[in-house]
Structure formats: C-alpha cells, structure tokens
Amino acid sequence: MKRHIISLLMENEAGALSNVSALFSARGFNIESLCVAPTDDASLSRMTLVTTCSESVFEQISKQLNKLIDVVKLMDLTEGDHIEREMMLIKVRAEKEMREEIKRLAEIFRGKIIDVSDNSYVIEMTGDSGKLDAFVHVIPEDHVIEVVRTGVSGIARGVKSLTL
C-alpha cells in the first residue's frame, strides 16, 4: 500500500467532478482527499486527489480516470520530486495562560492568528499534511473547537509540469 497524489486536468464542465467522484464509489476505490478549482485557463479545472492503495489498484485508478471523457491529462505527483501543501483553519479555545501558550505554538509552526475573540483564536496554517497533523496533535484535545482542512494540493518540482 502506498500513498499517491494524483493531479489531473479536466474540462471545467458541469458533471466533471461527479464523474470522478462517482468513479471512485462505483469501483470501490479509496479516496482520502480531493481538492479542485479552475486554473488560469478558465476552461480547465485542476484536481488533486489523494489515495492509498496497492500498485495494481493504482494502475486501475489511473487508467479509469484517463478513460473519463472529461479528464484531459493526469499525473502521479508521488512518482517524482514534488511539493504538497494543505491549508488548515483551526479554531481553538484560548483562555488565561493558554492564550500565550497557543500563540507561541502557532508561531513555532509558522501559523497565523487571523481571528481573535475573548476566549478563542482562529489560526491559519499551511504545510504538508504531516505538519498540520502535528499541530493539531500538540493542541490539547479539549481546546480544539473546529478544524477545517482544504485537502492536499501539489505540484511537481523543477521543469516537469502538468499543462496542456
């Protein structure tokens, strides 16, 4: 079993996203996160999809995705050097001595406090999924109010690219 980050370009059309998500449920493929938005070319959407599976299942996933009419191009980012990032917005309880402590922790993780109330912070943080997991882990469980994550998006290092 290996974690794969699949990047794909698809037609920015109604139903395209459903075609991808329906494929995963219809064929029993596992999907961990999915992140999609239009690109600089408004007719194209870029999707980043994370899945953990065996090599033979991964082969099927990429073939089945390629077979979808809306999918223009596809790439397995984990095949080469790549950068992955995920953004998280986390709302934490911040009262008394914990206000300072949480602020310090956020700084260590290079997070930004973007909302402050009498007894809470909202912290914005970007990084790979492991870093975000680590931050959630260091905040005492009873202080975590809400966690919002975008899912992974990624890009290949160097000149390698996924474009038309």
Binding site: E11, A14, E59, Q60, K63, N66, K67, I69
Partner: protein
C-alpha cells in the same frame, strides 16, 4: 440554415446518417416529436416500453455496427431506459440515447416527470451530456455520436431540457463534422514493439491458444482473426460475446470457453503456455476461480481499452489498440518475417486437444417423448441452414443456443452477455429485423424472459416485423432452478412460474401466429412452417424437458480443469 432546437436534433440525426430510431413520446420531447413528424428521412419505431426502445436500438447496433438511437421522455421515460443503457454499456455497444428533460428553469424543483437523468445514467453509460444552451446542441449531438462509436464503443446519454427544443427559437445551424476533443482521443494503432514481442512469444510457444471476445465482432475484425488463426495453426476458443467471429465449423475452433464452455476449450486454456487474448476482458464467467486461471500461460492481451488490461488478470504483453489494426500488423510481421511457424511443434498439442474433444462434452440424452432444449437448438440450426440472426434472452436457453447453434458469421448472435438482461431478446430482435428486413431473424427465449418485454409483440404488429420466437418453455426459470438443484438441495424457491399465460392465444390476441409443439417428431416441421411464413411473426411455444441442465459446467470457485460433465458425457466418456 436557421433551425429550432427540436429541428437541430432531427437534422443532426440526418447528418449522422441515422435512418431508424426507437422511442416513445412524452411531455418533455413533444417538440422533438413534432419535428420528427414533419420529415420522412428518419424513421421512428414506436415501442411499448422504453426498455424495449433501448434493447431494439442495441440489437440494431449489434447486427449492423452502426450506432443505435433512442428517443424517450424525461422521468419514467428515462428510468425505464436505464436497463437497456446498462445492457449496452456492459457489452460495449454504440448507442445514443436522447432523453427529454423538464425545462431548464424547473430543474431541481422536483417538477412533474423530473429525474436526474445524467446522475442516474452516469455509472452505466460511456458518457452523459446535459444540454444547457441551444447553441451547444449541434456540437453535443456530434460529440455524442463520436464518443459512442469510437474507442471502446458504448452508450452516450444526451439529456435535453424542453426549453432547448423550443420551436419558436431559431438559430443558425451548421453540423460540426471535424470534431476534435482534447480530452478524448482513443488510440487505434498498437505499439509495434509490443506486437513484435508478442509474435516472438507466439513463435516459441508449445501450447498456444487464442481466446477471442466481443471486441473482435465490434471492431469488424473477424476476417483478420480468421487469417491470423489459420496462419498460426493454433486452437481458438471464443467468449459468449465473440461467437461467430470465427466459424464454428472450423477444426481450429474449440467452442466457447468459461462456465458453460466446452471441455476441450477450458482444458486447453488450463494447459496453455501462451494465451493470446483478443478483444476479451477476462470476465468472471470466463476465468472461473482467478487463482486457477491459466496457471502456466504467458498472456498477450490485445484491447482498445487500456483499463481492460491487467484489470482482473495480470498480463505479460499488453497491446493497446484497435483489434483489427493490431491483428493486421501481427499478420504482416509474421508474413514478412523469414521465420516460419513450426506447425509440427504443435502436433502433440493438437493431439491432446483432440483427446479432450473426443470426450464429447456436449453429449446429451435424446428422447422420443419430450423435447430436449439442445435438440431444439440443433433443429433450429438445421431448419435455418445456420444462416440466421439469432437474438437471445437470458438463462439456460441462452447457453444452449451458444453451445449448439454453430455460428459461422459475426453479428449473428445477439445476446446480453455482460449484464444478463432478461427481456432483451424480443426487442433486440425488433432492432435486428428493422436493420435487415429481408433476413430471417429469430429470438430464442424462455417463458420467464419473454414475459419481461412481451408488450413489444404490439410493436412487431405495428411495424410488420416477422420475427420467429422460439420459446423454450419448461415452466421454470431454468437457470435459477438448475442452481437450486445443484447448490440448494433442490429447494426451488420461487423459480416456478405457477400462472403462465397460454402463449398461443396470447400471441393471437396481438395479431400474430402462435403454435405449440410438444413432441420431438413435430418440431422440425413446425419450425419449417414458422420460417416459411415470411411475412408473419410466428411464436412457437415449445414445451421442453423441465429437468434438463446445462452442461458442462464450472461451478463457482472452481478452475477450468474442474468441469462438471453431463451424465450423458460421463457415460460415453473415454479419455
């Protein structure tokens, strides 16, 4: 030329060369039906249930290679069509299904006869479109036909909201003939390096076998398959879907393989050292228990769909491309090469195969009292001289027909192999007969299957379709009964239909000819009469032995070498 949306739909059909469509009107498609009414180029066949429309279009497509076209209304019209769409999808049949939709402004409001047609059809079609602007309609129609008929073919659904076809809105029309899609460009030519590797492997094979499937029929590659097989001198077995692509009377043909395949075919698969899979998809009914599948073979797989390759069985030499192109490339390489196929080297392989063949796995016990279904199919073959378009429903009769009707030509055997849709046979035969008005067309069916689309007898009357219906009437859902006998200790749970109609009277009430046959000695004359009545639909209610089982058989979980044989074969059996 300025056309309304409704006129664009009809004009696009003409521009695609569509002559016949199958459909059923309703509120959301009334504009289109009005446009149809005002022209004579596209003929419309009015069915009695939308499932019938899809199967008819499917039969039309299977027997011609041209795309089948369906027109149905929104809501129940679309949902009734789904079974037929899924049937075509699993067997890779080119089809364009036009569904009406409620007006754009009402989508999502749970309007009358509204259903999310693209959502429902997505998992069982090759692609779906929802038309959002009348300006997109012509291009969407072109895309639908292009996608349906290229690559691995399949059904494409075009959902058209009623306002898009508004007759009062006219726009300039030009059909986009040279369509290019950046996201869809199916390969045609196979990789030459891979093809050469495959040829090399075949040269060195001691026990090769060709396993050919429906892809050969779909790609019109029968001629290339015959040439290659004869050039190589190797045995060939076919899937249910591939029957007819290679002439059944040929010595190199081992018959069908798989669950109810021939003993010699399955044993040869089991013992083969090189398997050449051509346009076949390693379906579970073919492979048996996957762990026991072709344990000694290196596998070459030729298929147009990359996702078919190494899906169920891992393959050594994959070749993605059109079956016909790849086979022709193979032939060329073999013929131009200086190496000769070592036919003598295959002698001992053929000796083993002939020994398996000598077992007579299709042997059955003949009777003077009761009609055996195998005998019925053999008689049908005799009466029709093997020259027939035969559609089938699903169950025992389907397997008996596949085993005993020796198909010599492709596109003659028309059955729902992948989805196994009961009710397919009669409407499919309507599509075949529409496409081949002067050819004999028969439907082999069971009393359970035929009742699933019996209403189409009315369509046959209206359109004068002289189909011959061969009902193998055993009073049971035969295949279900067989499994209950074998695996459920004879507890025949709900497999007996206790209130069957009088099929002869039923047929007559639809305005056709009905006849009943009960004795083996009367069968040939009855079938002869049926085919002599060239302009009439004849329904033969053939009462067959209710206890007959389909043999040989690979039970679930077993391998090709573990076939159960018929009692008759066992008795006569010597290795």
């Amino acid at each position: 030329m300025e056309l309304s949306g409704a006129e664009i739909v009809v004009q696009a059909l003409k521009d695609e060369g569509v002559e016949t469509i199958f459909g059923y009107p309703g509120g959301s498609v009334l504009h289109i039906y009005d446009a149809l009414f005002q022209q004579d180029d596209v003929k419309h066949v009015l069915v009695r249930h939308e499932q019938g429309a899809t199967h008819a279009a499917d039969g039309y497509a299977r027997s011609t290679g041209k795309p089948g076209v369906v027109l149905v209304t929104s809501g129940p019209g679309a949902t009734n069509a789904i079974t037929g769409i899924a049937t075509a999808h699993l067997d890779s049949i080119p089809m364009v299904v036009l569904t009406g939709q409620v007006p754009s402004a009402l989508i999502g409001t749970d309007a009358f006869q509204e259903v999310d047609t693209t959502g429902i059809s997505r998992p069982c079609s090759k692609h779906t479109f929802l038309v959002k602007r009348v300006e997109d309609l012509a291009e969407t129609m072109r895309k639908a036909f292009y996608i349906a008929t290229t690559g691995r073919p399949g059904p494409v659904v075009v959902d058209i909201p009623k306002d898009i076809t508004d007759p009062s809105v006219k726009i300039p029309y030009e059909y986009p003939r040279n369509l290019k899609m950046r996201s869809y460009s199916p390969v045609k030519k196979g990789h030459l390096g891979q093809i050469k590797k495959a040829v090399e492997l075949i040269y060195n094979a001691k026990r090769p076998i060709i396993y050919s499937g429906g892809g050969v029929v779909i790609d019109n590659a029968s001629g290339s398959l015959i040439d290659l097989t004869r050039e190589l001198g190797v045995p060939l077995t076919s899937t249910l879907m591939g029957l007819g692509a290679y002439p059944a009377s040929d010595r190199q043909f081992l018959g069908m393989l798989g669950m109810h395949g021939n003993y010699e075919a399955n044993m040869a698969m089991h013992e083969a050292d090189v398997l050449i899979a051509i346009g076949a998809r390693f379906d579970d009914r073919v492979t048996g228990h996957i762990a026991h599948f072709c344990p000694q073979a290196k596998i070459i797989h030729i298929d147009i769909d990359p996702s078919s390759i190494s899906k169920n069985v891992s393959v050594d030499i994959p070749i993605v491309g059109s079956v016909k192109d790849v086979l022709n490339d193979m032939l060329r390489i073999i013929r131009e090469g200086d190496r000769k196929i070592d036919n003598d080297g295959l002698t001992s392989w053929w000796e083993r195969i002939e020994a398996w063949r000598g077992l007579g796995c299709l042997r059955y016990e003949q009777s003077d009292e009761v009609i055996k279904p195998q005998f019925a199919v053999e008689t049908l073959h005799k009466v029709t001289g093997g020259d027939l378009y035969l559609t089938s429903d699903v169950g025992q009769h389907q397997m008996f027909a596949a085993q005993f009707y020796k198909f010599e030509k492709p596109r003659r055997w028309i059955n729902s192999g992948g989805l196994g849709t009961m009710g397919f046979g009669l409407p499919a035969a309507m599509g075949v007969q529409m496409a081949h008005p002067d050819k004999p067309v028969a439907c082999i069916t069971g009393e359970a299957s035929i009742l699933m689309c019996i209403q189409e007898l009315a369509t046959c009357k209206q359109h004068g379709l002289p189909i011959k219906i061969m009902l193998m009437n055993n009073g049971y859902m035969g295949m279900v009964r067989q499994w209950q006998e074998m695996f459920y200790e004879g507890r025949y749970s709900h497999s007996y239909v206790d209130a069957l109609p009088d099929f002869v009277e039923l047929t007559k009430s639809f305005g056709h000819v009905g006849m009943r046959v009960t004795k083996p000695s009367d069968l040939e004359a009855a079938m002869q009469e049926a085919f002599d009545r060239k302009d009439e639909l004849v329904f033969l209610d053939i009462l067959i032995d209710p206890t007959e089982n389909v043999y040989p058989m690979i039970e679930a979980g077993k391998g090709h070498h573990e076939m159960a044989m018929s009692p008759a074969s066992k008795q006569g059996g010597q290795r």
